[in-house]
């Protein structure tokens, strides 16, 4: 993208830490669509996605001081905030809507199967669709569902070590599609 000339990543972060509004506008222009798409991949609903994206950018504005360049790229930090916010939202919504016996997998099939929103076709989810079902399911549970390895192991009735290995393998396969 040619706009990259306007700010280096370090320069952008420095301005953001000074609460520079034009820098924040630049950040929004260049990152909001990617973050919004990830959020939609997770929450599967546009209204909810709008709310979560709003919360995410307000959080970014307020918590930019917590970003440490040594630990990774800015986008990786932004992506984690967006993904965590979306997963928190989905978890709290599922909790509100939950029936006593709601199964882990039910919610996953609910979000990617029953409602069948276009959000499966965009962003990373679109790429994940191209993976074999075995990998697809693990990525849905861990990346889009936010479930821990232990939760997945217990729900899928497979050993924890196997869960770890398969998730790594699935993401490694995903990378090959990039």
């Amino acid at each position: 993208m040619s706009d990259a000339a306007k700010y280096t990543e370090n320069g952008l972060v420095a301005l953001l830490k000074q609460r520079d509004v034009p820098a924040f506008e630049y950040l929004y222009e260049h990152y909001s669509a990617a973050l919004y798409t990830v959020i939609l991949n997770i929450v599967d609903e546009k209204e909810a996605g709008n709310d979560v994206l709003q919360d995410v950018f307000v959080k970014i504005w307020r918590q930019i001081d917590q970003y440490n360049e040594q630990k990774g790229r800015l986008f990786t930090w932004l992506l984690n905030i967006a993904r965590n916010a979306a997963i928190d939202f989905k978890r709290s919504r599922q909790f509100r809507n939950s029936r006593q016996n709601l199964e882990l997998t039910d919610s996953v099939y609910y979000s990617t199967g029953v409602t069948q929103l276009d959000t499966d076709k965009i962003g990373l989810a679109g790429l994940v669709e191209k993976l074999p079902e075995e990998y697809r399911k693990l990525i849905r549970l861990s990346y889009f569902g936010g479930y821990t390895h232990e939760e997945i192991a217990s729900a899928e009735n497979i050993p924890l070590g196997t869960v770890k290995t398969r998730i790594r393998k699935a993401l490694s396969e995903l990378r090959k599609l990039m």
Partner: protein
């Protein structure tokens, strides 16, 4: 440890995408700190992921952007502006409420004062009327007292001749000034004249009656006509307005000088 095998295991992707366990995360960080290949593999996947996630995207609606920027910018500016405006609004609201209350209070006071005014006005009119009545009484008494006063003076005058007239039905007295020859009558005991009738005083001069005046409602002494000479005085009951000659059958009282 085979660094390349580690890098190829998928742990880098898991770490960058945030699906590692806390122990795995700590492990990757420690490995990256000691192995520059791992650190650069991490950076490379971050760049790759960023590029991937920026493709096939859906842009958020403009409304979200507006909400975000109003939320992050407004706390600074509205912190100054909006409270002031709302503060001003409060003042206007307060003033409006106060003026309505004042208006209502004023309207109530108007009613109250108008009623008081009406009451006072009627009391005042009543007092004026009472005062008029009192004044009339006072005037009447004053007149009466003046008349009685002058009557008293005349009675005390030593030049006054006193002619007492008596009859079967009453008593009256003539006071006749020897200086001025004025005649005054005192009704000692004179019943009211019947309707259509009036008492008339006569002076008897050389045996003949001379009209000395009609007797009206007078206080104290009634001033009659001037009589230069007389031997006696008499009162008869005549028709109203008097008669040229006395009706002797109706002689009421008589007295010699």
């Amino acid at each position: 440890m085979d660094i390349n095998a580690y890098i190829e295991s998928g742990i880098i992707e898991s770490y960058v995408m945030g699906v590692t366990t806390p122990e795995e995360t700590a492990e990757v960080r420690s490995m990256a700190a000691t192995h520059p290949e791992i650190a650069s593999a991490i950076s490379a996947f971050e760049v790759m992921l960023e590029k991937q996630l920026k493709s096939n995207v859906q842009a958020p609606p403009q409304i979200v952007r507006d909400k975000i920027f109003s939320e992050i910018i407004s706390p600074d500016e509205t912190g100054k502006v909006v409270p002031m405006e709302s503060g001003r609004g409060d003042i206007w609201r307060f003033m409006a409420a106060a003026s309505i209350l004042l208006f209502i209070a004023s309207a109530l006071l108007n009613v109250y004062y108008y009623r008081n005014y009406k009451q006072m006005q009627s009391s005042y009119q009543q007092l004026l009327a009472d005062q008029g009545v009192m004044q009339a009484h006072v005037d009447k008494m004053q007149t009466r007292m003046n008349l009685l006063d002058s009557s008293m003076e005349m009675l005390q005058d030593p030049s006054m001749k006193v002619v007492s007239m008596k009859g079967n039905d009453g008593v009256a007295t003539v006071y006749w000034s020897s200086k001025t020859k004025d005649v005054y009558l005192l009704k000692n005991n004179v019943p009211a004249a019947p309707a259509g009738k009036q008492y008339q005083l006569w002076a008897i001069v050389n045996g003949k009656p001379v009209n000395a005046g009609m007797i009206g409602d007078c206080v104290g002494l009634c001033k009659m006509q001037n009589i230069p000479e007389a031997e006696a005085f008499a009162i008869t009951l005549e028709k109203e307005g008097g008669s040229p000659v006395p009706t002797l059958s109706a002689l009421f009282v008589m007295g010699k000088v």
